[in-house]
């Protein structure tokens, strides 16, 4: 049995980091030299996908996928999101346009997962950032879980996975 969880978000939001923290296997990465260091100052960026696994013994495993965050790689997004139990959108609130990114990713990924299975995780955010995101989500007349979370912290990531689990349980129990 395989569950699939997708990490989405713009470049530099911590997708590869999150998969590295959660994965029980050495993550598979498709990194290339980053030519956009004026946008996000890091040496490399994901251009294909990131992949990791949470191993659950006989019960199966959870496959963790990270998308390349730049819009020029948006062709990868539906490929990766297909059949996902949920999507965790990571946003770095210190990036200027993170609210626009939330809107854009929410629009795109809502085609493949329902709002409850689309969890928003705000890194380096304040309560005001949280309010702003909740307001944006409310304006779109959907209810998306929005949390503060640090992609380097396993407890935070576990909490995000817990939200996806409850959502999946509700879907199962109601069928």
């Amino acid at each position: 049995m395989l569950l699939k969880v997708v990490f989405a978000g713009p470049m530099g939001s911590g997708k590869s980091t999150a998969i590295g923290v959660l994965s029980d296997i050495e993550p598979v990465a498709t990194e290339a030299k980053n030519n956009e260091r004026f946008k996000v100052d890091k040496p490399t960026t994901t251009v294909g996908l990131d992949y990791g696994e949470i191993l659950l013994g006989d019960a199966g495993k959870v496959a963790l996928y990270g998308i390349p965050g730049q819009e020029r790689f948006d062709f990868m997004w539906p490929i990766v999101a297909k059949g996902a139990m949920g999507v965790i959108l990571l946003l770095d609130c210190s990036q200027d346009n993170y609210i626009e990114k939330l809107a854009s990713f929410a629009d795109t990924f809502s085609k493949w997962v329902d709002p409850g299975s689309f969890v928003v995780a705000l890194n380096r955010g304040t309560e005001n950032d949280l309010e702003a995101c909740n307001l944006l989500v409310e304006k779109r007349d959907v209810v998306m879980p929005v949390f503060m979370a640090d992609p380097r912290e396993k407890d935070d990531l576990n909490m995000l996975l817990h939200v996806l689990i409850s959502n999946a349980e509700i879907r199962l129990l109601q069928e």
Binding site: M1, L3, I54, L56, G57, A59, G60, V62, G83, M85, V113, D114, P115, G116, S117, E127, L130, N134, V137, E138, V143, M144, P145, V146, F147, M148, A149, D155, D156, N158, M159, L161, H162, V163, I165, S166, N167, A168, E169, I170, R171, L172, L173, Q174, E175
Partner: protein
């Protein structure tokens, strides 16, 4: 255990207790704690300087008990172990622990019970049973209204030293009570009409608590009020925003309720079935969402779920939960 009869009357049995092995400071604190909990005790307790003449003794060592003493005693320990099931309490003695101990000792003395039940930590959702909660008043709602007004300082228990204030800029409560749970218990124990409310903050409150987090926990405990207000079987509810469960209260059942009422409009009954909680606790969840401004909508009917391929088996979800330590 019920502290009050339905009419609100308390018992008037007079009992006394003494403490052995505590230092002068702890003794004085105990006397102050007794004053705080007196209105919520099922018997009229007083402190007695003579252990031999006491109905009940709190002691740090059994060897300190007078040889002639035949009554009920509780052992006070620095640290409880898993083997300690009966007749023990942890130091420092908290106000609520003292209340529990005295009520249970009183029950045992008056009813001649064979043992004092264990003094254990209570879950957040069940604690409302042990408070003065009123069916028609919500302390959490009242406080959230005050938060919209200017800075205020609240002296919860006059002359008892318990106070707190609200900082609208940082959106935090500051209190001289160190523990958030302790503060919440005090808030629930002392009716608002007995508080001393001032516009100026003259206190020196050292401890900070997130305002929404504290209101959330407070509201979760007001289950009787919540049941009264939210417990209509025909109404369906939906929340517009998710609560910050990790920061406020990390209880698995609340994740399920958040998922349910976030996904679709649903009745209280559906919430009960999905979460396994009692009706009043589901109501308390909705009440808490409402108090912290998560916007609870009352809808006309249960809405259909969005379509998404579901996970085929609960087993793998259970395995994942286990792995995550949920």
């Amino acid at each position: 255990m019920q502290l009050f009869s339905d009419s609100g009357d308390v018992c008037v049995t007079k009992l006394n207790f003494s403490a052995i092995g505590l230092d002068e400071k702890a003794d004085a604190l105990l006397a102050r704690q007794l004053k705080i909990v007196t209105p919520w005790l099922t018997a009229e307790w007083s402190m007695n300087a003579e252990p031999e003449a006491s109905d009940f003794i709190l002691t740090t060592s059994k060897s300190l008990l007078p040889s002639s003493f035949q009554g009920v005693s509780v052992l006070l320990l620095e640290k409880l172990s898993d083997d300690d099931h009966d007749m023990v309490a942890e130091l420092p003695l908290r106000v609520f622990s003292l209340m529990d101990i005295l009520n249970k000792a009183g029950e045992r003395i008056t009813n001649d019970l064979s043992a004092i039940p264990e003094v254990s930590a209570e879950s957040i959702v069940t604690a409302s049973e042990k408070t003065t909660e009123k069916i028609s008043f919500s302390c959490a709602e009242w406080l959230s209204q005050r938060m919209l007004e200017k800075v205020a300082c609240f002296y919860i228990a006059k002359d008892k030293g318990a106070s707190f204030s609200f900082d609208p800029v940082k959106k935090v409560f500051r209190s001289n009570i160190e523990s958030r749970d302790e503060l919440i218990k005090l808030l629930l124990m002392h009716p608002v009409e007995h508080w001393d409310i001032r516009a100026d903050d003259e206190t020196s409150e050292a401890y900070e608590f997130s305002a929404t987090g504290l209101l959330w926990l407070l509201a979760l405990k007001e289950s009787r009020y919540a049941l009264h207000v939210w417990g209509s079987p025909n109404r369906v509810y939906r929340i517009k925003h998710w609560p910050q469960l990790a920061a406020w209260e990390n209880v698995p059942a609340l994740y399920k309720l958040s998922s349910l009422y976030g996904r679709k409009a649903a009745t209280i009954d559906t919430g009960v079935k999905i979460s396994g909680l009692e009706e009043r606790h589901v109501c308390a969840f909705l009440h808490a969402c409402n108090v912290v401004g998560l916007k609870v909508e009352v809808c006309d009917s249960e809405t259909a779920d969005r379509l998404q391929p579901s996970v085929q088996s609960l087993n793998i979800l259970q395995a994942l939960k286990k792995k995550l330590g949920v």
